[in-house]
Symmetry: C2
Subunit: 495 residues, 2 copies
């Protein structure tokens, strides 16, 4: 057996361990009995410990050393070695003491955050935020960086992408987005919020299953279950989506969103299963897939041209009296709001830009944890023209920071931008694209994404693949143009 | 930290790994998408490899060596050390090459067995049976034994129990059982098989849930799902039962059976979770719990006195016109049949005695694998007075031997015998026992089993606990007497 073969056999066992953890986590959100929380926690901790031990073992170090001088590797094999080396080096550079300190602070901090949010009192959370920022700075120092500590944190979620890449893109976006939102908000067109009705959860799920099947999601190598919040779990031959267990909202978009993630995970080549070549490029690219299906397809006129009559049939009481155009407008209402997860396609990114600015400033020592609420509120006014009444609806709304997930937020907006830039390319590549979608034929889109994105796994970086597929670097103009065209027609305005 | 504390922390991680495997296996039978079989196989193999590595590690060897001279241990701690040492020694004694050979032969043999059964052609399976018996003999040699190679195999399922213990018990049973079955079969009483009707699966499940709740099974630390064949999985804070997914049969007894297993697994003390002290004594003892609830409670007059009116209410079409006595007789029909899993309370043990005899003779070199079908048919005639028409309904009916599970079968009958012996004690200990059951109060039985069996985990061996609880060794007379009394009344006969 060659060194590479031995190495990749060992790597596959790492993926098996992650697969086991994935299932335990999925089960925890779907079927696990309530009293099993503690035991499940132990099991997950043990699995994670075994994974860490195996990843950072002497054996792995030796494989990687030997493979450094191995010349006879294919591009795919090189990518596998490169990506494992990447995480091996990260994991071995950070002292165990610091890892444990972060885990502990995350656990205490999450608990404090929940309390703080409940009481809407930032002060309760402040010391934990301070501590976490400080620990994450140590973390960045341990790993090392060229330019900014924050780059190290971004790299965990959006590999090979730095502040230098993001800053110009986000500032181009910000410049355009703020006036767009303002103009829409000031328009005189008032849209009736016809989705603000009760839609039976099970009937929605059945409708959703039909749509995700049409999207090409394979229910023989995946499932759709229910949980408190929708998520996607697993990969390759076992990809599981969830939709809302309850609640009066309209859940179709969440299902399409998760199925977009799910198609990525089902889209790797079988020969690459259990290796980095069967893993997504980045969280941003992952989000580009979910947002494409959710927004560019799911909130489009041409998609609903086919599906709206079916939806009306399933929900006559709620929808019979409304036209396709009423519905299309209702699913695209723009309304600045305090809560990120409730935000629409235009304002969503302003919520992210705010968080990105703050994270960058925290790690550049330009602001202090204690200034977070004030900075938050200032930015909210600047970007969205509204100021939250209290911290619960402001700086305390997201769990991420309590868990040390700095660098995660920007991937949401990167995903939105990638999605439109790729989508424009798809519309060029696929003849009669919108016509096909409007007849319920979604298979060409899935095929394009399989062939051009999913099947490459981690072969390319997000930057490389974007250039390769669209001929240019990530460019916010695509997104801006898309928004302008879409909302001019919905709100009867001219940008 | 003391050596024992370090040791037990390490042991708990072993239990975590098993817990993860348990969930993966449960999921495979309940919710896993069909195309995930291969990947699930890899994940389970990796988990099992990690478990084996950890169990047989140098570290574990050192802990056990240090603990040998540790005097300051409680009885519970000693039991934990003893039980881990037991499996450590077994695992380290068997050469890896042999383990792999057994695994491979099991995989090929199971496939061959399925083919053989389908074609009802023992010849297809014969070479694999020969090979497996030979490998299992090597296995027994590697581990070592005082008396018989077969003892080693029994010990995997019924620890500290040997042929010398079982032989006198089983021969006492055989002597009585054959004439009992003969007499019942020859009786002129004909019982109407009113359960041979269609009962809606979901309605049965709902009824079953009420019963297992009444039994004291905690659905907040367990579940009831559906699968092709019922089973119980998990332990402690997460115990999962299944019932039949489909089929026209009456599934209540299967549910009570699994809940009996489930109560054992939920019955350990919390302080012992993730150690041998939170594990069952033996498969025989486990089966004594399931069979007690299934047969001694579930097929009793006094139980149905309370539940039959409710059952009639749920299934009026099927049961309204039949009395409690009709029902009681129907659930206790005795009929010699070829297939073990379909057998009734009396004939079941003859199926097991046959298999026990054959296994013993195979490992004593008294018969050869190729003689298996002939021996089988002779024994069937001798014990049950019937001869299967073909090998599919005879020697090929069970999967066990193809997987090398010799020594497993006797635990079924041991379970039946333990169940009655314990039950007689319970009836002495609990005042007005049958009266309570006949009013739907099942909690005293559960409490007795918790306190006297479950909470002890692996503190005692089956032999020790039986002596401690009932004042005597396992004695088949209890079971014989129980059968005679029960079936005299049902079949209007006198033994």
């Amino acid at each position: 057996m060659s060194v590479y073969e031995e190495f990749i056999g060992y790597v596959k066992e790492l993926y098996d361990l992650r697969k086991a953890s994935d299932l335990l986590e999925w089960d925890q959100e779907t079927y696990m009995p309530p009293k099993s929380v503690e035991g499940r926690g132990y099991a997950l901790a043990t699995l994670s410990g075994v994974y860490h031990e195996k990843l950072t073992s002497k054996k792995m170090g030796e494989y990687l050393k030997k493979l450094e001088i191995e010349k006879d590797l294919t591009e795919e094999q090189k990518a596998n070695v490169r990506e494992i080396k990447r995480i091996y080096e990260k994991k071995t550079k950070v002292p165990l003491k610091l890892v444990k300190e972060i885990t502990k602070t995350s656990s205490l901090g999450t608990e404090a955050w929940a309390r703080a949010r409940k009481k809407s009192d930032f002060k309760i959370f402040q010391p934990y935020l301070e501590k976490m920022v400080s620990l994450k700075k140590d973390f960045a120092e341990a790993i090392g960086y060229e330019d900014k500590a924050y780059d190290v944190l971004i790299d965990d979620f959006e590999p090979y992408t730095t502040v230098k890449d993001i800053d110009p893109v986000f500032s181009g976006l910000r410049k355009n987005l703020v006036p767009i939102v303002k103009k829409i908000t000031e328009s005189e067109t008032k849209i009736k919020d016809i989705l603000n009705q009760s839609f039976d959860v099970d009937k929605q799920k059945n409708f959703g299953i039909q749509i995700i099947k049409d999207m090409g999601f394979d229910l023989e190598q995946g499932r759709l279950d229910s949980s408190a919040h929708p998520f996607t779990s697993g990969s390759c031959d076992d990809v599981r989506l969830t939709t809302f267990k309850e609640g009066r909202g309209f859940h179709l978009f969440a299902m399409m969103h998760e199925a977009g993630h799910g198609l990525y995970e089902q889209g790797y080549k079988k020969e690459h299963y259990r290796t980095p070549m069967a893993e997504a490029i980045s969280l941003g690219y992952h989000e580009s897939q979910s947002r494409m299906w959710e927004n560019l397809i799911g909130r489009s006129r041409f998609f609903w041209k086919y599906y709206y009559p079916k939806l009306q049939k399933d929900f006559p009481e709620q929808l019979k009296k409304y036209s396709l155009e009423d519905f299309y407008r209702a699913i695209n209402i723009v309304k600045p709001s305090f809560i990120r997860v409730d935000a629409d396609e235009t304002t969503y990114n302003l919520h992210i830009l705010l968080r990105y600015d703050m994270e960058k400033n925290l790690f550049d020592d330009k602001i202090d944890a204690k200034e977070a609420p004030e900075t938050w509120n200032q930015k909210m006014e600047e970007y969205l023209g509204i100021i939250p009444e209290n911290d619960a609806a402001g700086v305390l709304q997201d769990i991420h920071w309590s868990q040390g997930l700095f660098g995660y937020f920007p991937t949401y907006t990167l995903g939105n931008l990638y999605s439109v830039q790729l989508f424009n390319q798809i519309k060029k590549d696929v003849l009669g694209f919108e016509e096909k979608i409007s007849k319920g034929n979604l298979s060409d889109l899935k095929k394009w994404l399989n062939k051009n994105v999913h099947e490459h796994g981690k072969l390319y970086s997000a930057k490389e693949l974007t250039k390769k597929l669209t001929g240019e670097a990530l460019n916010p103009e695509h997104f801006i143009k898309y928004l302008k065209e879409k909302f001019e027609s919905i709100y009867n305005i001219r940008f």
